[in-house]
Amino acid sequence: MKFDLSTQTHICAICPNMCRFLCPVAAVEKAETVTPRGKATITLAVERGEIAWDAEAASVLYHCAGCKMCREWCPSNVDIPEFTAHLRERAGRDGLIPDPAPGVRDRLMRDRSFRRPAAELAAGLDRYRDLLSPEATVLYFAGCSTATLFPDVIGATLRLFEAAGVKVTMLRPEECCGFPLEALGYREEAADFAAALAESISKGGYETIVSGCPMCTHVMKERYAALGVELRAEVVHVTEFLDRLAGAGNLRGGQGARPGDGTVTYHDPCYLGRHQGVYDEPRRLLTGLGRFNLVEVDPGRELAACCGGAPSIDAVLPRTATGIGVRRLADAARTGAGTLVTACPHCLEMLGSAGDDGGRPVVRDIAEVLARRLGLWPSGGGGRG
């Protein structure tokens, strides 16, 4: 169905705001302005010229984590993140994107990577050279957040591929996928990154792109086309890929499983769950391949609360983002599980650093816990927290 910004904002603006309790930004900031109906009301007023489309009005559209929780709840199928994205793009065209986003863009354009210069990251990946096969048709796209913050996750993931007999390669250097730029409203810049990646993919003749970062897979799967870029390869998240391998019997648990109580809980990343519909794969991997005892966070799956880690909110409103993270960590801590597993470097970073240390579960990436469980990856190191 074609997205109709006008109809969507109109319906949302006259609705009784029944989804407001699920909005993570509203839950932290409290003001009506940032509730879904608040954002729709402002959008409608701007469309009609009732309030000026200026930096103040535009800034309200950045009080959205893009988590899609409101969309999940809405009986009228209003998609706030979608219309927020439209308006952020307009803010980009009109030079109204609020601070500190322009600084994020400048750094990204300079470094070609979100966290650290892409060239530096490339040097750091040399240690995994032995695990790569240059002729492979499967491209493992680590993502700059994983490469910067959780390089051991890359090693663990590559060990899993190796154990399954899958040959993979990586780009060198690996540049940003464009997600932070696209999410902040920098369409042209995002398209530039998307085109560069598409060209690398085309040159390499890769058939499948596997990434452990849901933002990377989301922007490639769902946004590149709108940016005018065609990616001639299948894009899958690591959990989808490993689940296929395990399902086909190419990746087996058992012999190498390490002792321990084996109880973990799992946080559904918004961009993997609600955006891409990937809920069952990580759970099958944890309980099947990993033989973990999985206790669910309440709420989980489709209604799993956002952690605030996505650059769409964390890059512009870090205090709000941390407040969201603290709330989500409390959800996870209530399970009593000592380990919180997730499948996104941004969630890993936020949940690993939000809140007090007392009673907080250890936060780990799913590939890392699986590789450790199967005896494929050494103890120590790995994710933060």
Partner: protein, 494 residues
């Protein structure tokens, strides 16, 4: 965006706003800085975008005006205090400077109770969102007034309790809002309404004094002070904290539904069940139109559906089911099983029809009245007939959803075709007038649980007669400057 007119004809609401606008006082802009010094500058909002969003609650008329692009009055500022002391400091400052104060919770009211019609400062209490105490032994819970209903229930549920108060706005509204609008929850037949659930309040009075009433099982110490804030709609102060009754989580839930011949039979069944002293958590009787609308192919056209929803101690649930079955057996009926009840439960808070109807050029609204059993059948007929007599109305229907030994409520829904704002507001007012007049003539009360707000204030003299003077004097005593939530509850501005 404050005064109306963009070439379109003036509506009744335009006239009301113009009258209120004349009472608007100049706002000393230095107060923005002073408010910021109390709460932190990030918690004072003055952008056009913020003020536009806070210009309304969930009342149909402001929604219609947003739909048709008509203006609404805006506040001069919005402030979000972080605790009771900050609320008190804000109230002191505003009262000293003669600035109107509009308390704000979740904005889920449906009668314009938070509309800043004379300008002033909206005091949003949602930062007061903590659960302060859950007392297992005494079965009480204390929370700050800005907590969202669902968040409060979730916290109680994790500790093994429920407070049993679930207005349809539970996902939107706040504890304080539920108190000051004198709300009822969908499970009120078992757990009571907010006045039965509330044990104590903390409130900030106009001028900034903080009062707290005592938490006790019962007290014989003069008129009940906490009750004065129940239904006060922000005219007597700002509720900042409350202690309420809680209950152990229900051991079991069950539901049964029946098709009965007509609305009168259904009412008689409920009356007989309530006389036994048993209290099923929910009893809902739908008239033929609403039965068909809500349950579609499950029901025979022209018949009525009655749903019982039970929860609590397993043995008590068994007994309630048994007694209801015996009661229903005395009437012509068809058993519909448990599916309709669960269907209602799953969809009980879905209100997507409201915006969808509006975008189709229809006005839809609900109103709720109550009366004693002997008056209810005639009240139902009189209201529906009188409303249907208004030219332009498409339908009027009702259900009963909150019952007592002495009577029940009627929740009336109407639809009218009104493609433009002038027609919509005029038709809306005519239908409401017809309904309220019919209700008063039939001996009903004009409001069961939505409160009064801005819209229903004009019917208050008819409701209370000379007794309204008690409320006026109480308000004058606590708010001599008339700054608290102008235009609400009493109608008079200023």
């Amino acid at each position: 965006m404050e005064s109306a007119t963009s070439g379109a004809p003036r509506t009744g609401f335009d006239v009301l706003l113009e009258r209120a606008g004349r009472a608007r006082r100049p706002f000393p802009t230095r107060l923005v800085g002073e408010l910021g010094r109390i709460t932190g500058p990030g918690h004072v909002l003055t952008r056009d975008a913020d003020l536009a969003v806070y210009a309304r609650d969930s009342w149909t008329v402001p929604a219609l005006r947003v739909h048709h692009g008509r203006p609404l009055p805006v506040a001069d500022a919005v402030v979000l205090p972080g605790d009771t002391a900050e609320v008190a400091a804000v109230m002191t400052l505003l009262y000293e400077n003669d600035v109107p104060v509009i308390p704000f919770g979740g904005g889920s009211g449906v009668l314009g109770g938070t509309l800043p019609i004379t300008g002033g400062v909206i005091v949003d209490v949602k930062r007061l969102d903590k659960v302060l105490d859950i007392n297992d032994e005494g079965l009480t819970a204390t929370a700050q007034a800005g907590i969202i209903g669902t968040d409060f229930e979730t916290a109680l549920g994790r500790a093994g309790f429920t407070w049993g108060h679930f207005p349809q706005s539970t996902d939107v509204g706040t504890l304080g809002g539920f108190i000051v609008t004198r709300s009822a929850g969908q499970f009120s037949t078992k757990y009571g309404n907010i006045e039965d659930i509330l044990l104590a309040v903390e409130a900030v009075l106009p001028g900034g004094a903080v009062i707290r009433t005592k938490t006790t099982a019962r007290s014989s110490t003069g008129p009940d002070i906490k009750s004065m804030f129940v239904g006060s709609e922000g005219t007597l102060g700002i509720v900042t904290e409350a202690t309420v009754r809680i209950h152990p989580r229900p051991e079991r839930r069950d539901t049964r539904a029946y098709e009965v011949e007509d609305f009168a039979d259904g009412l008689e069944i409920i009356r007989r069940v309530m006389r036994t002293g048993l209290r099923p958590a929910v009893i809902r009787l739908y008239d033929p139109i609403e039965s068909l609308h809500s349950f579609k192919e499950r029901v025979t056209q022209g018949k009525c559906v009655i749903v019982f929803f039970y929860q609590g101690l397993g043995r008590l649930v068994d007994l309630e089911v048994e007694v209801v079955e015996e009661t229903v057996a005395a009437f012509r009926h068809r058993k519909l099983g448990s599916e309709p009840g669960w269907h209602w439960y799953k969809r009980r808070n879905v209100v997507s029809g409201l915006p969808e109807f509006m975008t189709q050029g229809l006005v839809v609204d609900t109103l709720e009245v109550a009366a004693t059993w002997e008056r209810i059948p005639a009240l139902y007929r009189a209201m529906i007939d009188r409303m249907l007599a208004v030219k332009g109305i498409v339908s009027a229907s009702a259900h009963s959803s909150h019952s007592y030994s002495q009577g029940t409520n009627l929740y009336v829904t109407f639809l009218a075709f009104a493609p433009d704002i002038g027609t919509a507001e005029a038709l809306y007012q005519s239908i409401w007038d017809a309904a309220m007049e019919a209700c008063l003539e039939a001996g009903g009360t004009i409001g069961h649980h939505h409160g009064i707000g801005l819209h229903r204030a004009k019917y208050m003299p008819g409701e209370h007669g000379p007794a309204l003077e008690v409320l006026r004097r109480l308000r004058s005593a606590l708010d001599p400057k008339g700054l608290m939530n102008p235009g609400k509850l009493f109608g008079k501005v200023g």
